[in-house]
């Protein structure tokens, strides 16, 4: 592993939450480095801090201490505005409960990262290209017929595929998925994992959090969060 291929890196990350009087220490010096093109599965017991780590890697949250860097860019030093851009352009999030906006239809949900990323004028310029890409993604995921539907009209598996299409809209460097199959039956879940595997095959870097060892088997590299620290598990 040469360092030049490292895309996301966490070094000695600490994070704790205040719960009433006491501090709950969730991450206690976690180290992790993710290479370009890897499919990383993060496992660990419920409450072990997997989501917390993922949010920190995606700059949705800041660590208490430690360094999180993207291609040697120290994210701790970036302004909020630049972190917003970073999330918009470089990261794609997929959540357990899909987290689609109920008020928007499928196509609009997929377009959201593009719309959020540009000004009203910029949107006018790039609208048709963006729509084309969004439709292409949805067709790829077998949702070409559903672009006008609202999220509540879709099944769980379909919603998660919309969420993945949204995460991919801006061609992110890294896809971060937090229990993407956690709310689905195993068959539908496998469909989603299939999608992630295919993305990985095309060179997409994927980081997936799961509490399920079976799901983690889909990943090429598995790491485990134990006691706030990262343990390397397996490579395939």
């Amino acid at each position: 592993m040469s360092d030049t291929n490292t895309i996301l890196k966490a070094e000695g990350v600490f994070k704790s939450y205040r719960m009433g009087q006491s501090d709950v220490k969730v991450l206690k010096g976690a180290n992790l480095s993710i290479e370009q093109g890897q499919f990383v599965g993060i496992i660990g017991a419920s409450g072990s801090g997997k989501s917390t780590l993922l949010h920190i890697l995606g700059a949705l949250d800041r660590p208490d201490s430690g360094i999180v860097s993207y291609k040697e860019r120290d994210l701790n030093r970036e302004s909020t505005g630049r972190l917003n851009r970073f999330r918009n352009e470089t990261i794609g999030f997929v959540f357990q409960f899909y987290h689609l906006l109920d008020e928007l239809n499928v196509l609009e949900n997929v377009l959201l990262p593009k719309m959020a990323g540009c000004s009203a004028f910029g949107w006018l310029v790039c609208r048709s290209a963006a729509k084309k890409r969004a439709k292409g993604l949805l067709e790829e995921f077998g949702l070409g017929e559903r672009i006008g539907h609202k999220p509540y009209q879709l099944s769980g598996g379909e919603r998660q595929r919309v969420a993945i299409a949204r995460a991919l809209m801006n061609e992110p460097e890294v896809l971060l998925a937090d229990e993407p199959t956690g709310n689905l039956d195993s068959e539908t879940g496998n469909g989603i994992l299939e999608v992630l595997r295919r993305l990985h095959d095309t060179g997409q870097t994927v980081v997936m959090v799961t509490h399920d060892d079976k799901v983690a088997e889909w990943a090429g590299r598995v790491i485990k969060l134990v006691d706030g620290m990262v343990e390397e598990q397996a490579w395939t």
Binding site: S46, N84, L101, L112
Partner: protein, 440 residues
């Protein structure tokens, strides 16, 4: 872009935003109507007062009056900004039948009509105001023109039951004449100067003058009050300016030439009386009555401004609820890279839409309501006040687009203000927790 779209969707999908719109609409509706009516009443009243005064008045508080007025009126009439000037003698008299005290006003009907609305106030000499003091039943009798309310009773519609044909009514006027020094000019048994005048017409100015004033020919009034003779005196000169002359501008010009006139007249007979003379714009002159109406108007506007605060508060509450419901959405937006400014402007445009829609609805309902307010009241047979005692006969319903736009802009502003705090909270929200699922 997505902000506007999302804001619009929130608006349409959240039932609670309809309540916010309804609250704004109701507020705009009520404020619009009340302010229109109150402004209408004030404007109407001020118009009536103005119509009985003209633009500017040269006057003395003393019942003795002042002399040398004819020369000054002549001078005024040569000024380019003066349209007309008219002398007036104001005094008080006991008038038969029941020896009531009335305000008497001596005028030259033609000049007075040029300055005021007098020609339109009379009934039997329309188009012939010069002969208003000639009773139609006998043109040789000395005539007087009482306010319509002096001798006629009002009916329920606020009108007066006047006879079609003028009837001969004799009124005896008793006045205390004062000489130029302010002393009673006659002593002894004949303290009063009295004369009988005949009802030649009446006038309706539309406010309290109608109950208390009687117009007489100028010379007759002067004789009654002891102001006649070689050094004739009056108490007022009413002036109307030409079109386009500002009130303050014209008034200060009159003040200036009056000052010069005083200089010039130094040492003339009864000069002291001239020194008590003041020049005022009609607004200043009638400050006591007009200021009251204006103060009432201001008070009411302030009261209804408070309603606007309530609207802002309702919007604030609604927004707090929406923001709390939408914290997940805010988390999602942040996860795709939307910044604080975007989220702030998302909710602010939501507030803006509520303001625009609400005030549009309020104005659209309020507009026809005001236009047809009198018909609506008539239809439901609503009598809001006793027209026998009021100078207001119909609800004023003239819409001022300027007032309406100020109301709409304020309503939208109130909505933005109400939305600001919750939007700020939304923008600053830490929403990792809302995206987190800790079960499993």
């Amino acid at each position: 872009m997505y902000k506007f779209k999302l804001a619009l969707r929130y608006l349409l999908r959240r039932k609670i935003s309809y309540f916010a719109i309804a609250a704004v609409a109701l507020c705009v509706f009520v404020v619009f109507i009340v302010i229109t009516i109150v402004a209408g009443i004030t404007v109407n009243f001020k118009g009536k007062v103005y119509n009985s005064i003209g633009d500017c008045v040269i006057h003395t508080k003393s019942l003795v009056g002042f002399g040398h007025y004819e020369e000054f009126i002549e001078q005024l009439q040569n000024e380019p900004y003066v349209y007309a000037a008219a002398p007036l003698v104001k005094n008080y008299a006991m008038v038969s039948v029941d020896q009531e005290t009335k305000e008497i006003a001596g005028i030259e009907p033609v000049s007075f009509s040029k300055v005021t609305g007098f020609a339109d106030w009379i009934e039997y000499h329309k188009g012939d105001v010069g002969n208003v003091f000639q009773p139609t039943y006998d043109v040789n009798l000395p005539g007087c023109v009482p306010g319509i309310g002096c001798y006629f009773r009002r009916n329920e519609d606020g009108g007066y039951d006047t006879p079609e044909q003028l009837r001969q009514i004799a009124l005896e006027f008793n006045c205390i004449p004062l000489n130029a020094k302010g002393a009673m000019s006659r002593l002894g048994a004949g303290d009063f100067s009295s004369k009988t005048f005949y009802y030649s017409d009446h006038f309706r100015a539309g406010y309290s003058l109608d109950w208390k004033r009687i117009f007489l020919p100028l010379e007759e009034a002067q004789l009654l009050c002891g102001m006649g003779g070689p050094d004739k005196r009056v108490t007022h000169i009413h002036i109307k300016f030409n079109e386009g002359i500002g009130l303050e501008e014209g008034t200060s010009k009159v003040k200036e030439i009056w000052g010069k006139y005083l200089e010039q007249k130094k040492g003339v007979i009864n000069y002291k009386l001239l020194e008590n003379v003041q020049v005022d714009s009609w607004k200043n002159f009638s400050k006591a009555v007009v200021a009251m109406a204006e103060t009432q108007q201001t008070m009411i506007i302030i009261c209804f401004f408070l309603i606007g605060i309530i609207t802002a508060f309702i919007v604030l509450v609604v927004f707090y609820m929406v923001v709390s419901h939408k914290s997940k959405d805010i988390g999602i937006l942040k996860s795709v890279g939307a910044g604080q400014v975007s989220i702030l402007s998302l909710f602010l445009s939501f507030g803006f839409m509520i303001g625009v829609l609400g005030s549009a609805i309020g104005a659209l309902i309020g507009w026809p309501f005001i236009v047809y307010i009198n018909e609506i009241f008539d239809f439901f047979n609503i009598q809001l006040w006793d027209k026998r005692y009021s100078s207001i006969l119909v609800v004023p319903n003239e819409i001022d687009p300027k007032v309406l736009s100020v109301i709409i802009i304020s309503a939208i502003g109130a909505c933005l203000l109400g939305a600001l705090l919750p939007s700020w909270r939304a923008a600053r929200m830490k929403c990792v927790d809302t995206l987190q699922v800790t079960q499993l």
